[in-house]
């Protein structure tokens, strides 16, 4: 009986978490020149705001941003200080124009150099839209590091919970446990 209750609670919790807010999000930013930044992260969605961000991965034009100084981390852009700020937890918005954050392999609030980064800032004090990404560990065919910029207009920003195919196994496994519990109870 105890097992049955536990399994039911677990399944309910898993199912509820999957339906209310996703742990894993996929995101992408399509620059106006056609370049694309993609990635994923884990966080907590509340309305249009994602917090508790961790486990970030990114790629620019399909090339992974990896092998840098450290794991990717996010910091917020503080519009009051006109600076990146690591003293408050960063958030990411599902609405592109509301974003003010940066992701890099270093703490962008204190470091002056990274191996790769993505800045996404909307602040009139710095000219409005600033979406830019670069990967200094890679060299393209022209001998340049891949880099992309949007200043004059905003590209397409998308971030969404990882879709069902990823969450479904969790729900099914919860239901499976519940089912096993019921059978044991029946026996």
């Amino acid at each position: 009986m105890k097992f049955l209750i536990k399994a039911a609670v677990l399944a309910a919790a898993l199912g509820a978490s999957t339906l209310a807010s996703a742990t894993t999000f996929d995101f992408s930013y399509s620059f106006t020149d056609g370049q694309e930044l993609t990635g994923s992260l884990e966080g907590t969605l509340n309305g249009t705001t994602i917090s508790n961000i961790s486990d970030i991965s990114m790629a620019l034009n399909g090339t992974s941003m990896s092998g840098g100084v450290g794991p990717l981390q996010v910091v917020s852009w503080n519009t009051s200080k006109t600076a990146f700020d690591d003293t408050v937890p960063a958030t990411i918005s599902t609405v592109g124009a509301q974003n003010n954050f940066g992701i890099a392999d270093v703490d962008m609030a204190t470091s002056t150099s990274s191996d790769y980064f993505f800045s996404y800032v909307n602040d009139p004090k710095v000219g409005g839209v600033n979406a830019l990404a670069a990967n200094f560990l890679v060299t393209d065919a022209k001998g340049n590091n891949p880099q992309a910029f949007d200043f004059t207009g905003e590209g397409a920003w998308k971030i969404a919970p990882v879709p069902l195919p990823a969450a479904l196994p969790l729900l099914l496994s919860g239901l499976g446990l519940f089912s096993i519990g019921r059978r044991r109870l029946a026996k």
């Binding site: 962008m108 800032v121 590091n145």
Partner: protein, 754 residues
């Protein structure tokens, strides 16, 4: 986009996080960098020069952007976009964005495949941005610094590297010099919204663009330091001038990179760029009649406190050929005064006025005691033909008994001599739409610009004119002429008859800053020593005019470079000449001037016709009557850099120079010619020793010379050092120089600014 760029730039971007700044400026490779901006400048449409007004037009300038320019982070700071350095190409709007793992200066390579204002770039150029400029605009190394790459950002970079000033000082100096805010001086002109600031930025952009185009040529051609610094014995001329030639040391044979070339472009042949030059032309005196003459103490003090040239030769006799020479480095075969029919010089002939216009600069010609004469009218029956030909500008004057001077004498005929004019002779100048606006009045009376009296203060016993009360009649006619103009409601031709005539427009122009870059000043014939010989009156006139210049804001501003030159049109009673002018040597008349085509072909100029002195008889080979020169006269220089700054003064130069040398020097000073291309120097100012040697068959007047150095033109840069044991040519009209054999006591460049 522009609006966004502007919001990035407010001085508040001095927000530019101090810590970031520190990191960026102290360790070149400690920080990454993101930049975005515009490669911008000016698009200059040159004037069209023709000898009729209908075919002539003035210049115009618009703010522009460069599309297709290669922009890179110059990681090794060599001024070149090398392989492996992050780069991008500017878009159609001139914009770029670029990031680099390491902050570094920016370079914009503007090739002939790029466009300026949508039109093909005709001459390669390189613009630069100092790393400090990026740092000063950087808010975060993860966000773009707004940085425009312009001719002015390049000038700032050059100044930081060569003038011993910090980046901030260089920016502030440039801003002050051209009269714009420091916040706007480094913006691409397309981002400058204040109209007056835009005008100033555009003018400086045109000037700097031209200079830096030259720099790119220096690099692309492999020009040597010797050529660029004006060592006219490089390449070595010892093969044909063993006695006089200097060496051409290895350092002078080295080529230069773009950064050094850009500094040489601001110091062509060793002549620093100046912002304003005032040339005061006096009349008919040899140096030996002027030097230490107690009747002209002020001019002698100028020589002693400023700089003086001991072997400066006039090029002819009488006056007019010398004024032509000062205006164009040739007298065009004119051997007399006031050639009729006017204009004396037809066709399109190179001259300083048009050359200055062609580079986006300005010129003025100020004449003393001008007869009040509105444009487009016949002011006087006897001169109506001349007046009509000049559009109403009246450079001669009637005998007007109603005009009484300070000494009660009447305003005599030809007090103002039209022959004393470096400009009016050229049909292609008078046909320009700005001609009348640039010919203006000047007076030798009144206070300085601060309202202070300019005391007479001379105590010599030979003051030639008095007003009956023992005072010298300086500025004899100015008040009477002004009263006449006012009473008769005469308007000025230089305002196209829109403003009242002013007898001292020069003073008003100095006060407003509306002055030419190149200003020729000619007193009347009582004030220029022509009628009255060396005297305190003429000395005072020069003192009065120079006091006005020296009380002006442009003179007092150390960021501006201002030079005042006092010289004379001709010497006296001598027939010697040097430096590009030696007709009738060995029986040869002077040849027609030599020109060099774009493909390097050298030929004599055709179609030059002239008129015999006074009698008006035309002749087909004007130079057959050639002038012989008229000996040595005075040439003194004083600059505001000597007075306000650390420029050397009290030095002398005994090398040989002539009016042609001065014209060459002016071309260097204002960036009007290319030292690597002899053809770009006008008329006989291109006759360097090497050029004469290489084109001997076209220049027979120099055949069998005993002293090729004496015959050659050079910039007045004091680079040439007389070899030990070599004596100076004994100069007719000259004085004993401090050194007459071997090197001068030093080789200081008398135009030096520091």
């Amino acid at each position: 986009m522009q609006a966004k760029l502007n919001t990035l730039r407010p001085s508040g971007v001095a927000l530019a996080v101090a810590s970031t700044l520190a990191l960026c400026t102290t360790d070149a490779f400690a920080a990454q960098s993101v930049v975005r901006g515009t490669v911008g400048g000016a698009y200059f449409t040159s004037p069209v020069f023709a000898d009729i007004a209908a075919a002539s037009s003035g210049s115009s300038t618009v703010a522009s952007v460069y599309s297709g320019a290669k922009v890179c982070f110059d990681l090794n700071d060599n001024g070149v976009c090398d392989s492996g350095e992050p780069f991008t190409t500017t878009g159609a709007d001139g914009s770029f964005a670029l990031t680099s793992k390491s902050i570094a200066p920016l370079v914009a390579e503007i090739s002939t495949s790029a466009t300026n204002n949508g039109k093909p770039v005709t001459s390669r150029n390189v613009f630069r941005v100092k790393q400090d400029q990026i740092a000063s605009s950087t808010v975060s190394p993860f966000l773009p610094a707004a940085v425009d790459i312009t001719p002015l950002s390049t000038e700032v970079a050059r100044a930081v590297e060569n003038d011993g000033v910090s980046f901030t000082q260089a920016v502030n100096n440039l801003a002050q010099r051209i009269g714009v805010s420091s916040a706007d001086v480094l913006k691409a002109p397309t981002n400058v919204t204040n109209p007056s600031e835009l005008t100033a930025v555009l003018k400086e952009s045109v000037i700097d663009t031209g200079r830096f185009e030259l720099a790119a040529k220096f690099v692309d051609r492999g020009d040597t330091v010797g050529e660029l610094r004006g060592n006219f014995d490089c390449p070595n001329v010892a093969s044909f001038d063993a006695t006089n030639a200097n060496s051409c040391p290895a350092s002078d044979q080295a080529t230069v990179g773009i950064k050094a070339a850009q500094n040489w472009a601001m110091n062509l042949e060793g002549i620093p760029r100046y912002d304003y030059v005032f040339l005061i032309i006096e009349e008919n005196e040899s140096l030996n009649s002027l030097k230490d003459n107690a009747d002209i103490p002020y001019i002698n003090a100028l020589l002693d406190n400023g700089s003086q040239f001991y072997n400066y030769y006039s090029t002819g006799h009488p006056s007019e050929p010398n004024y032509l020479a000062l205006g164009s480095a040739d007298d065009w075969g004119q051997t007399g005064d006031e050639a009729i029919p006017y204009p004396a010089i037809t066709g399109v002939r190179a001259n300083l006025s048009n050359a200055v216009d062609a580079k986006g600069l300005g010129w003025r010609h100020y004449e003393g005691s001008l007869w009040p004469s509105p444009a487009g009218t016949m002011a006087n029956t006897g001169a109506s033909s001349w007046n009509a030909k000049t559009g109403g500008a009246f450079f001669d004057n009637p005998a007007e008994t109603s005009i009484l001077g300070n000494d009660s004498s009447t305003y005599g005929s030809s007090l103002v001599a039209k022959k004393h004019n470096t400009v009016v002779w050229f049909a292609d100048v008078t046909a320009q739409p700005n001609f009348l606006a640039n010919e203006r009045s000047i007076a030798g009376t009144g206070t300085d610009l601060d309202g202070n009296p300019i005391p007479y203060g001379f105590t010599t016993s030979t003051s030639p004119l008095t007003d009956g009360n023992g005072a010298v009649s300086t500025g004899n006619w100015d008040n009477a002429l002004q009263n006449y103009a006012t009473s008769n409601n005469i308007k000025s031709w230089w305002t196209n008859n829109t403003q009242p005539w002013t007898q001292d427009q020069f003073k008003l122009d100095l006060a407003s800053g509306d002055i030419g870059n190149y200003n020729v000043i000619v007193p009347d014939q009582d004030d220029d020593m022509h009628n009255l010989k060396p005297n305190a009156r003429a000395d005072y006139w020069a003192k009065n005019v120079i006091a006005k210049i020296q009380s002006s804001a442009i003179w007092k501003d150390p960021t501006k470079r201002v030079a005042i030159v006092v010289t004379f049109d001709e010497g006296e009673s001598a027939t010697t000449a040097c430096c590009g002018w030696n007709p009738q040597r060995s029986g040869n008349a002077a040849s027609q001037p030599v020109q060099v085509a774009a493909d390097g072909t050298v030929s004599t100029v055709s179609g030059v016709t002239g008129n015999e002195s006074f009698n008006g008889a035309a002749y087909s080979s004007p130079y057959a009557n050639g002038n012989h020169g008229h000996g040595v006269t005075l040439f003194g220089v004083t600059t505001n850099q000597q007075v306000l700054g650390t420029a050397p003064h009290g030095h002398y130069d005994t090398d040989y120079y002539s009016h042609f040398s001065f014209v060459r020097t002016v071309q260097d000073m204002f960036g009007l010619a290319d030292p690597g291309q002899p053809s770009t120097y006008m008329n006989r100012s291109k006759y360097t020793e090497t050029f004469i040697q290489q084109n001997a068959t076209l220049l027979p007047e120099f055949a069998n010379t005993a002293n090729p150095h004496f015959d050659g033109v050079r910039a007045m840069n004091h680079v040439y050092q007389f070899p030990a044991g070599v004596s100076r040519v004994v100069a007719a009209g000259g004085v004993t120089a401090p050194v007459s054999t071997g090197p001068d006591s030093d080789q200081v460049n008398l135009w030096a600014t520091k």
